[in-house]
Amino acid sequence: MKKPLLETILDPQNLSVRFQPIFRIGDAENRVHSVEALIRGPRGTPFESALILFDYVRRKREERAVDHACLAAIFAEAVHLPPEFRINVNVHAATLGQQPGFVDSFRQLAKKHALSLDRFTVEIVEYAPTCDIPELAHTIAQLREARIRVALDDVGLGQSNYRMMLDCHPEYFKLDAYFVRGLKDDSKRRAVVESVVAFGRALQSAVVAEGAESMEDIAMLAEMGVEFVQCNLLCPAVTLEELLVSGVVGRAAPRLTLSADMKRLVRQAVDIAASVESPALSLNSARWVGRSRTS
């Protein structure tokens, strides 16, 4: 019999981890605020792609088991990250909403690897409309008690809608790349970004824009009050080794072109985010110069 794919995936040895920095924008230097840990499936198979891997996992309705395998793989690598880095991990809402003991098992993993819980942000991803919101809210409360922050991923698409934005009340809204690409030349997309930024301000949630494709778009995002950017332009998802030797840390960053008004707006946004900011590393470069372009 062929070994079931799920069995292969549930072995953390068959999963690999990439890290993609999230940059704070708009202040004197772009800085790394955190790194998102991203999973890749069994090497050399179509399921190495996270998109395909998690499509399969959701079809199997095995989000819970696979989320745990992914966390085990991530924690094993995260021990080698500089302690200044915050660490973002993706967890399905179905996992948070269906497993009362999630936070305890997260805590045990952190303890096993001697990682402080307050370094983590759990990014909630959701594709199914069947999530148990009260149970999810309960788990989010437990995460906060453990000093783990919460982000809502893919804001604006699918189940990451206004209801989830309200019910999760995350520290971060991660605005999907769909609304960010080509922002500078698209007033309709700018209108979406403005609305999410305004909503974030009302809820005291910071906005992370994903997928910007030009420095002009990043400058525009800063002008509009977006505080964080995560995109391949600045740094793609890379292995731990590549991240540590890439030159992303330390070199002077190209300054974004900001008008006085833009700077004022950015400062307001920065003030809002100040309470959730961590010690950050200075960047070597705002543009990715590493050898690998794995993403």
Binding site: M1, K2, L5, P46, L51, I52, D55, Y56
Partner: protein
């Protein structure tokens, strides 16, 4: 339409045999051992021909479930169903479900290849 082939069977050895043979003839081949794996691949890649065992994922007629999925996608992918059973009723049902070819196991690999050639040619 490309000539990419998807082989779906939970028998590891048969999958390898089909893959080696068809790859040797120049077809790009992916494999899956269960319905969900096959559905995922079909959602992300285009296949000219899908070859599936009738009995799949412990379901006696799991292959027909997969055929329903293929047809729900409204794509021109051709489907070959393999089975050790030879019931006429089963062939009729498979045909009703939109199966393009029905091969009885064990069959010669050359027969499988000929069927794939005809079906993928029809898709060209």
């Amino acid at each position: 339409m490309n000539n990419r082939i998807l082989i779906v069977d939970d028998d590891d050895q048969l999958v390898e045999a089909y893959r080696d043979y068809l790859s040797g003839l120049g077809y790009p081949v992916d494999t899956a051992g269960e319905i969900e794996e096959a559905q995922t691949l079909m959602s992300h890649f285009s296949y000219s021909v899908v070859i599936t065992d009738l009995r799949l994922s412990r379901l006696s007629f799991g292959g027909l479930e997969l055929v329903k999925f293929v047809r729900s996608l409204a794509i021109p992918t051709r489907v070959v169903v393999l089975t050790a059973y030879g019931w006429p009723e089963l062939k009729a049902e498979a045909s009703n479900q939109g199966v393009d070819a029905f091969l009885r196991k064990p069959m010669r690999l050359s027969d499988l290849a000929k069927t794939v050639e005809i079906l993928s040619g029809a898709n060209a």
